[in-house]
C-alpha cells in the first residue's frame, strides 16, 4: 500500500512527489501533510502527489535535500494535528442530471439524495477554480460518469458528482460533472478572511433543504 515516494524534477524550480497512483484517503492526507511542512515556496497537494516549488535562484541540489528531509519528517506524526473542520452546505437537490444519475445508479431519486447527503466527505484538495474542492468518496452505489460533452456553462453553486467524487462549482464555468443539486453558499470570496469556504482536509456534509 505505502511505497517509497518518487521525487521527480518538475522544471528547475519545483519537484513532483508521487505517493501512489490511486484515489486513497491516506495518500491524500499524506500529500496535504507534506505540503504543510514545505516552507520554501508554494506547495500544491493533490490526490496522491504534491508539487513543491522553490525559488528559482536557489540551488536545485539543496532544494532536493530539503524535499528529502520533509519526506522523512512527514508521516512520523503520531496523531493528526487537529480535528478536521466540518463544513455543512445546504443543497437543493434540483440538478438537471439528478434523474439520470439515479437511473445510472439504479436508485430512486429519494434514495440517491439520501445516499449523497448522509455521508461525510473529505475535501482532498483544491484545484480547477478558486474554491473548487475535490471531495470524496461517494457511496459506491452512486454511479456517475463524466459527461461525454461537457457543458459550456455550469452555473455557480451547482453540485456535481463524477467517478466517486463530489464538488461544488464556485464560479460559472465549463464542466463535465453530472449536476444533481445547487447551493447558495458562496464557495469563494476574496474579501473573506478565509476566502475559500472549503479547505483541503475539511470534512464536508451536504444538507438537503
Amino acid at each position: 500500500m505505502t511505497r517509497a515516494p518518487r521525487v521527480l524534477p518538475f522544471g528547475e524550480s519545483a519537484f513532483l512527489v508521487e505517493l501512489g497512483d490511486e484515489l486513497d484517503d491516506r495518500l491524500a492526507a499524506r500529500a496535504r501533510e507534506i505540503a504543510d511542512r514545505w516552507e520554501y515556496g508554494p506547495a500544491i497537494p493533490a490526490y496522491a502527489s504534491v508539487v513543491l516549488q522553490y525559488d528559482d535562484r536557489h540551488d536545485p541540489a539543496l532544494a532536493e535535500k530539503r524535499v528529502e528531509s520533509v519526506l522523512r519528517a512527514a508521516g512520523q506524526r503520531a496523531t493528526p494535528n487537529a480535528a478536521p473542520r466540518l463544513v455543512e452546505i445546504a443543497v437543493r437537490y434540483d440538478g438537471p442530471d439528478l434523474a439520470d444519475v439515479a437511473r445510472m445508479s439504479r436508485l430512486s431519486v429519494d434514495e440517491l439524495i439520501s445516499r449523497h447527503s448522509r455521508r461525510e466527505y473529505t475535501a482532498y484538495f483544491l484545484g480547477f477554480l478558486p474554491g473548487w474542492a475535490y471531495c470524496g468518496r461517494l457511496d459506491p452505489k452512486i454511479i456517475a460518469t463524466r459527461l461525454e460533452r461537457p457543458r459550456e456553462r455550469v452555473p455557480a453553486g451547482s453540485v456535481g458528482v463524477v467517478d466517486g467524487q463530489t464538488g461544488v462549482y464556485p464560479y460559472q464555468s465549463p464542466g463535465g460533472w453530472r449536476l444533481i443539486g445547487s447551493t447558495d453558499a458562496v464557495m469563494f470570496d476574496p474579501l473573506r478572511e478565509r476566502p475559500s469556504l472549503i479547505h483541503a482536509g475539511d470534512r464536508i456534509r451536504f444538507v438537503p433543504r
Binding site: 521527480l8 524534477p9 518538475f10 522544471g11 528547475e12 524550480s13 519545483a14 513532483l16 508521487e18 497512483d21 490511486e22 484515489l23 505540503a35 515556496g41 508554494p42 506547495a43 500544491i44 497537494p45 493533490a46 490526490y47 496522491a48 502527489s49 504534491v50 508539487v51 516549488q53 528559482d56 535562484r57 540551488d59 536545485p60 541540489a61 484538495f125 483544491l126 484545484g127 480547477f128 477554480l129 478558486p130 474554491g131 473548487w132 474542492a133 475535490y134 464560479y171 469563494f188 476574496p190 476566502p195 475559500s196 479547505h199 483541503a200
Partner: protein, 296 residues
C-alpha cells in the same frame, strides 16, 4: 493618474501575481512574459512588486498627468511621444504628453511600466488581473488608474536592455516521462510545432506532430508555469500565467523559466522548437539571465 485612450483588446494590469493562494485553487496570474515585464520595471526603477500594464492588441495610447519615466517591452514594439523610439528603452514623458505604443502583427504581450507603478486595487494581495472570476477587469478606453509616487527624471531616460525573441525554447523532460514512449519524447524535442490561434494567457496550444501519452488514467496533480501537458489527442498545451493550479493530463516536459516568454510571445501560425536542457543547466540559464538583465 494614467489616462488610457486606446486600450487594445484584453489589456490588463499585472504584477508578479498571487503564488500564495495556489492551495485554494487560485491561479498565480502575473505577466505572460515575465522577463519582458521585469525588464520594463527595471528600466523605470520600479521594484519587482510594482504593477504595470500588459497590453494586448496594439496600438495602446495613454497620457499621464504628471511627468514619468516610461518603458515599453515586448516583441517588435516601439513607443512614440514626439519621436518614435525603440522598445526596451527608458523614455521620459512629460505631463499630458500623448504616448503611443505600437507593434506589428507579431506583438502579443506588451509591457508598459510607468515609474511609481500602477496603483490599482489589490485582490488577495496582488494587483494582477484575472478577469475570468472578477479579479480586476480588462482595461477599456477612457479608464484612469492611480499611479504610485514617481521617481527618476529626464537624466534617467535612454537606459536600454536587449532581448532577442526566437523560435526555440528550452525545456527539461518530465515529470511524467514514463507516461510517454521514447519515440514521442524524441519527437517532442526535435520536430517543429505551430502556435494555435486558441492560445491565451492560460496556455499556449501547439499543433504539429502527435506526441500522445501511453494509455492509463492519471490522477490530477499540481501544475507549474511552463508545464507541457499532453491531452489524449497528442497536441501539447504549455501552461502560462493563468493556468489552473492542477491538471489531469500527463506532462511530457517543462519549459525553463528563462524561456516562458519565448512561448508566450509566439504569434498564431508561427513555428516553435523545443530543445532539451537538463535541470541544472536550466537553473544556470535563469541565473545568468537574471544577472545580465537586472544586475545594475
Amino acid at each position: 493618474m494614467i489616462h488610457i485612450e486606446v486600450a487594445g483588446f484584453g489589456s490588463t494590469v499585472q504584477d508578479l501575481g498571487r503564488p500564495g493562494h495556489v492551495r485554494e485553487g487560485v491561479p498565480v496570474s502575473g505577466p505572460a512574459d515575465p522577463v519582458a515585464f521585469r525588464a520594463a520595471q527595471a528600466l523605470v526603477g520600479n521594484s519587482s512588486t510594482d504593477a504595470a500594464i500588459e497590453a494586448v492588441g496594439l496600438p495602446f495610447t495613454f497620457r499621464c498627468d504628471s511627468s514619468r519615466l516610461v518603458a515599453v517591452t515586448g516583441r517588435e514594439v516601439s513607443v512614440t511621444v514626439r519621436d518614435r523610439l525603440p522598445g526596451w528603452t527608458a523614455v521620459f514623458v512629460r505631463a499630458g504628453d500623448l504616448v503611443r505604443v505600437s507593434g506589428t502583427e507579431r506583438s502579443r504581450y506588451t509591457y508598459i511600466a510607468v515609474s511609481g507603478g500602477v496603483a490599482s486595487e489589490a485582490v488577495l494581495g496582488s494587483r494582477a488581473a484575472y478577469p475570468r472570476i472578477g479579479f480586476g477587469r480588462a482595461l477599456q478606453s477612457g479608464d484612469a488608474l492611480a499611479l504610485g509616487q514617481p521617481h527618476g527624471g529626464p537624466e534617467d531616460a535612454g537606459a536600454s536592455l536587449h532581448f532577442i525573441y526566437g523560435e526555440r525554447a528550452g525545456a527539461s523532460a518530465g515529470p511524467h516521462v514514463d507516461r510517454f514512449d521514447d519515440a514521442a519524447i524524441a519527437r517532442f524535442f526535435s520536430e517543429p510545432f505551430t502556435l494555435s490561434a486558441q492560445s491565451d494567457r492560460q496556455g499556449a496550444r501547439l499543433d504539429g506532430v502527435v506526441v500522445a501519452p501511453k494509455g492509463g488514467e492519471l490522477l490530477s496533480c499540481g501544475i507549474v508555469t511552463g508545464a507541457v501537458q499532453v491531452p489524449r489527442g497528442g497536441q501539447p498545451i504549455v501552461a502560462l500565467a493563468d493556468h489552473g493550479t492542477t491538471g489531469g493530463y500527463p506532462i511530457i516536459a517543462t519549459v525553463i523559466g528563462a524561456d516562458i516568454g519565448q512561448i508566450a510571445q509566439r504569434a498564431p501560425g508561427e513555428t516553435l522548437h523545443f530543445y532539451r536542457v537538463e535541470r541544472d543547466a536550466a537553473h544556470e540559464r535563469s541565473r545568468v539571465q537574471h544577472v545580465s538583465l537586472f544586475a545594475s
